[in-house]
């Protein structure tokens, strides 16, 4: 009984880490722009594919000589993927969201644009790479550790640690640095900030870089843990991570971090206690209940809108 409990806590922490990493990306963009970037789940998918191509290239799949061991490939793949994924995110902002913002379009239209951008990414991928699935290479030797009858892989530990470290890193950037202060200021008052001489577009681009590199990181870790890639892989986890961000209080990165783990823990523990066919039904009823009691989410603050 105790072993199963411990095993389930580890499962929940791993699964929650993915929700947290993805929810962080949602909440960063929302916090600064008040934009729900529904394409975020698909940016995670793009990140996973980018990681797939980089690591295959480095492993000598496309005629390049393979000269690096697996761990070195991984060490190179992570920063490269994060960089390339943020290029995708920033491009999306440049061609899809910024023109609308310039024209002063209602936020609703920007959200719809984000949804469409997500569909374009999915179907573009389907068209370019075809429908058959890709198998992500095993970059590091998988080690299964055994404690009593609890099993944990080195990958699982890595995922959980990465989620925690990236939260700490982001928290530092936002609360302790100048650019973080600018991000908070824009979220506070979008119209007064440019008057103070703060380059608002640069800060927004930086936000997208941060958010998308989180998505890239989540994509690599996801591909390592669930090594089968398909163009729709980001959809369902993206939506669920968005819900996690809302439950945590969207706009606050502590909320996204906590919300992701809460959703992971709820999902796993529902399966552990009830028949697994009820998982989503019970899990989301609980989240609905949390939102009914605290409509702004756990860390959210109520906002007044000036007209």
């Amino acid at each position: 009984m105790f072993d199963t409990l411990l095993q389930n806590i580890l499962n929940a922490l791993q699964w929650g880490s993915f929700y947290s990493l993805i929810a962080l990306g949602y909440t960063l963009v929302y916090g600064v722009l008040r934009l729900i970037n529904f394409a975020h789940g698909d940016i995670v998918m793009v990140g996973a594919y980018i990681a797939f191509f980089i690591s295959s290239l480095l492993l000598g799949q496309y005629g390049m000589p393979a000269f690096l061991p697996g761990w070195a490939v991984l060490a190179l793949t992570i920063p490269l993927t994060m960089a390339l994924t943020s290029v995708v995110g920033v491009t999306l902002e440049r061609i899809a969201y910024r023109p609308l913002r310039r024209k002063g379009a209602n936020r609703l239209y920007v959200v719809i644009t984000a949804l469409m951008a997500g569909l374009i990414l999915e179907n573009g991928n389907l068209l370019v790479l075809g429908a058959s699935r890709k198998k992500f290479p095993e970059l590091i030797e998988k080690v299964v550790y055994k404690f009593g009858s609890t099993y944990v892989t080195n990958l699982k530990i890595g995922v959980i640690l990465t989620a925690i470290l990236s939260f700490i890193g982001l928290h530092f950037i936002i609360t302790r640095t100048k650019v973080g202060m600018a991000m908070r200021a824009i979220s506070y008052d979008k119209f007064a900030v440019p008057l103070m001489g703060i380059p608002i577009d640069t800060v927004i681009v930086f936000t997208f870089v941060l958010g998308s590199s989180m998505a890239g990181l989540a994509g690599i870790l996801f591909a390592l843990s669930y090594p089968i890639l398909d163009p729709y892989m980001g959809m369902s986890i993206g939506w669920k991570a968005f819900i996690a961000a809302v439950v945590g209080g969207i706009g606050d990165i502590r909320g996204a971090f906590a919300g992701g783990f809460i959703l992971g823990i709820i999902e796993i523990s529902v399966v552990a206690v009830f028949p697994s066919s009820y998982r989503d039904l019970i899990a989301f009823s609980i989240l609905l209940l949390i939102l009914t009691i605290r409509p702004t989410g756990l860390f959210g603050v109520a906002q007044t809108t000036k007209i």
């Binding site: 095993q7 429908a131 369902s236 523990s269 399966v271 697994s276 066919s277 998982r279 989503d280």
Partner: protein, 388 residues
């Protein structure tokens, strides 16, 4: 104005093309197959097998029906592995493409609803791969080339009891998939009948597009069953088996025919080696016509054909044989579709590359199942054949 004129001219021209096509006497067969979505490899296998068959017959000048030769025309439509798209595709093939008969859909999730449409529109449909009984049940126009789940379930139970000396089992199935859910329930009922109630220690499910099964597997492994039964599609199997090994599972898995895709070993790798599944034919060690088919397919497309490819070959040949046996086509589509259906129902026996079969009154074949083992080279090796 000029544009409109060009358009009209183009339209007239294309109508003339269609007209001339009709004059050369073609037979149109529609394929309702998943070229994208959950199981794209299944659609690809179907299409490749059909293309090979078409090239064979058209190469001989066409299909001989009575005293006339007809050229074959195959229309491939993608049902995206979705139930609603399969219904739309069936309707489109019947109304717009005006096909004589339809092959597919492949999985039961799409074949059950699409069968309804074909039956209502009185068009022969043959599903190569669907094993759920509801596909053909009380539908005179719907047939299939695969065995049924009420047969496959007990095959898996008996094999596991003999091979693993199993007294207990656990099941993990996909809730949103008719095939998986139906087969899981049949398996559970049969296993408990033979081993006493409660011998299926865990009966767990997961939802559409799920990738993490750790909670369900933790529950299953904690129950300590003798083996785990996975009646799921190959892509989910690859994830499940890996995660189970991460959680310390060292026991055997037993699978069903949905494992048997050519892509299983690409996705699953070493984790799947040594496990067993029930299927329609075993490629490794095949003989006669079956071997000829496998070799030609392998030479043309570069991989060993999976069971879907072989079953599509059989299903299409079944329809073509029925068309030939109907003796004569009148050229009136509705009448010809009924003639083909009569001829299908009258087929006494058929020697397919997945074994010889007879069609019963429901349109279901009576044929044998095989159990294969995945060997160290990733080949599916014949282990046992079970006949009804």
């Amino acid at each position: 104005m000029k544009k409109i004129l060009t358009l009209i001219l183009a339209l007239i021209f294309s109508f003339m093309m269609i007209g001339s096509g009709l004059a050369a006497e073609t037979i149109k067969i529609g394929f309702n197959i998943p070229l994208t979505g959950e199981i794209p490899k299944v659609g690809e296998s179907s299409k490749f097998a059909a293309e090979m068959l078409k090239a064979d017959i058209n190469g001989q000048g066409g299909l001989q029906v009575g005293d006339k030769k007809y050229e074959l025309e195959f229309v491939y439509e993608d049902n995206e592995s979705k139930a609603e798209s399969a219904v739309a595709v069936a309707q489109k093939l019947i109304d717009r493409n005006k096909v004589l008969a339809i092959i597919g859909p492949n999985s039961s999730k799409q074949a059950v609803p699409a069968g309804e449409i074909c039956d209502l529109n009185e068009t022969v449909m043959v599903s190569p791969w669907s094993t759920n009984p509801d596909t053909t049940l009380d539908r005179p126009f719907v047939f299939r080339a695969a065995f049924l789940d009420p047969f496959q379930g007990p095959v898996a139970v008996d094999f596991a009891m003999a091979q693993f000396k199993a007294k207990t089992a656990a099941v993990l199935y996909a809730l949103a998939n008719d095939y998986s859910k139906g087969l899981a329930e049949i398996f559970k009922a049969d296993f408990e009948k033979k081993n006493g109630s409660g011998s299926v220690l865990a009966f767990e499910s997961y939802g559409d597009k799920d990738q993490d099964f750790s909670a369900q597997l933790t529950k299953i492994i904690a129950a300590k069953p003798d083996f785990i039964f996975l009646p799921n599609n190959y892509n989910e199997v690859a994830l499940t088996v890996k995660q189970a090994h991460d959680l310390g599972w060292k026991g055997p898995f037993m699978g069903s025919d949905a494992w048997g895709s050519a892509e299983l070993m690409n996705l699953c790798g070493d984790d799947c080696i040594g496990h067993f599944f029930s299927t329609h034919y075993a490629a490794a060690g095949a003989q006669g016509e079956t071997k000829k088919f496998i070799d030609r397919y392998n030479a043309k497309y570069g991989y060993i054909p999976d069971d879907v490819a072989a079953l599509t070959w059989d299903a299409t040949r079944l329809v073509l044989q029925a068309i030939q046996e109907s003796g004569k086509l009148s050229g009136k589509l509705r009448k010809d579709r009924k003639t083909v259906r009569e001829a299908m129902a009258n087929i006494k026996s058929f020697a397919g590359i997945t074994g010889s079969m007879k069609l019963d009154s429901q349109g279901d074949p009576i044929k044998c199942a095989v159990v294969v083992r995945i060997n160290e080279k990733g080949e599916f090796v014949f282990t046992k054949s079970v006949c009804p």
